[in-house]
Subunit: 384 residues, 2 copies
Amino acid sequence: MPSLGYVTPQTMHFAQPLPLQSGASLRDYMLMYETYGTLNADKSNAVLVCHALNASHHVAGEYEGQPKSQGWWDNMVGPGKSLDTDKFFVIGINNLGSCFGSTGPMHVNPASGKPYGAAFPVVTVEDWVNAQARLADELGITQFAAVMGGSLGGMQALAWSIMYPDRLRHCVVIASTAKLSAQNIAFNDVARQAILSDPDYHGGDFYEHGVVPKNGLRVARMVGHITYLSDDDMAEKFGRKLRDSAEAGDYKFGFGVDFEIESYLRYQGDKFSEYFDANTYLLITKALDYFDPARAHGGDLAKTLSHTKAKFFLASFTTDWRFSPERSQEIVQALICNRRQVTYAEIDAPHGHDAFLLEDARYMKLVRAYYEQVWNDINKEAAA
Amino acid sequence: MPSLGYVTPQTMHFAQPLPLQSGASLRDYMLMYETYGTLNADKSNAVLVCHALNASHHVAGEYEGQPKSQGWWDNMVGPGKSLDTDKFFVIGINNLGSCFGSTGPMHVNPASGKPYGAAFPVVTVEDWVNAQARLADELGITQFAAVMGGSLGGMQALAWSIMYPDRLRHCVVIASTAKLSAQNIAFNDVARQAILSDPDYHGGDFYEHGVVPKNGLRVARMVGHITYLSDDDMAEKFGRKLRDSAEAGDYKFGFGVDFEIESYLRYQGDKFSEYFDANTYLLITKALDYFDPARAHGGDLAKTLSHTKAKFFLASFTTDWRFSPERSQEIVQALICNRRQVTYAEIDAPHGHDAFLLEDARYMKLVRAYYEQVWNDINKEAAA
């Protein structure tokens, strides 16, 4: 399969303040984004791909001179792939508050002349959607062929369908939910407490201290990572295998690494703590916790979705215990109540929540089939 | 129901070194224990109740002048209760390495003259069982009517049946497992990393520094606590309820407490960090991780249990995702392979792993019925 080849991120500066859900506003900000494929003449083939917690605008392709820099959804997006960049013009945008180029807590706060740190305003899924809409405005895209995302990205797609019903024809929501459960929030709060209580966090102003709250970030990532994997998959991959079984074959009777799973998780935690921003982690987990569009409608999701106009594709994965199939089913039910056109797939996959990012022939085929419909949809209208 | 009344802990000193599974030994140690009821003349009515992670020898009754000091299984153990102290002589023993009176990391290491700290040897379930057996020797109990425990306590009961097949007539294993899964180990390691990376841990020697790694313990307890509750129960009890909804009714857009579940978990974490010892937490999670009696038999649990002589009672709880019913079923299957007499109950309870500690009429009735059998068993033999 031909690769998308080298890609280049772009930036767009916004001088007009962005009012936020909290009541605060960002008076000046920048968004980092990438595009793949070609926008057609009537600008009807644009697809916005929204990212989840630790991903970015770099959805697909690779950077020149960086052979291992494939985008986070490179298996999904590219020429001839499920979301085919030979047909669609795909946009990835780094969300505000993230740490991959768009304005975030590590950037200078114009009000203080110092990095925002913990003073960066708490942003919500809806705020991100508003920021994405402005970028679409600048590109002259009045209506997306589709807005798509997995997990937190799926929440953004769902929010688009509610906030800007006329600006997307299709809404693709994968491994997501209309709101976090108490257990989801609990895990997020454990992660936040690990970061906030790390002395190197310095109340969010660690940039000035020349340190990073690595221990807190590491624990936060470890606990998060457990929730991304299924119990079965962990059992299959790691089970009770010892790390140095070939060498010693016995327990070490200390607090170092005994089991492979410990080694794996600590490695994941270490790696993450080296590139991810602690304030961003706090912000993004809060955006997850706060997402609850039905809240404004007394918890009635059907009512919340009653003004949507898009057609929907939802997919969930059987072993995902973070956002289980039941969560997707709730959205499907609420859409059916509103007689929306919905395609729903529950995919039997062993990889837990992470499945939405992984190669799975049935999953990729389903998404491909759906985008063929999206393509026909656009061209039918163009022909009419 | 009449209460057990005031109880008094006792201590027993052991001058003979205890060889440990690690190869190390404890050269001098003390066990804190409590007893309830009266040991009969032929010493056949003794029941050992083993404790789990954060519990102790204080199984039932209360301490004089401390009205809220009920033991951790006071709903289960007492006069007329499921484990009836009018019939049975019940013993609770604080395990070595714990922080409720038995020799542990906060006590003076005779080798150094300083508190053990991280130098306290890593102890295993099997080490605890050996220590408990010595205490039973001192009390002249050659055979327990039953050894009983929930969770980690159930592991000790199971280990008794394997290590001392002639010393227990019944083995009562509740909400337990024959070994931890990769996911269980992963959660334990997150907790350990939170403690180990807290600067106030000081490599385990925080006693000398006059500090306690409270932040690490707090995060450890928070993550542990999530795994004790069921997703459904959390949803029912907390859902997405806001902490100060009466007052503001809206999100706070900061990193403080928004949701009830955050407030609850942080409170649990804070409380725990005030009384529990950080080194004990490390030790006990390692004992959990290491427990795997089938390991010495190539993973064959049936073979491992082939020399047991006890009759077994096992119970699990439907919503327990820490040690799910499948884990108990594995033990039941392995016992059936060996034609052991097994009673197994899978109790439909909403409270997750914590259910084993909670009042539940069906559960209490089942255990009561089983102990009536144990009682008949003892008296049949006495009559014969």
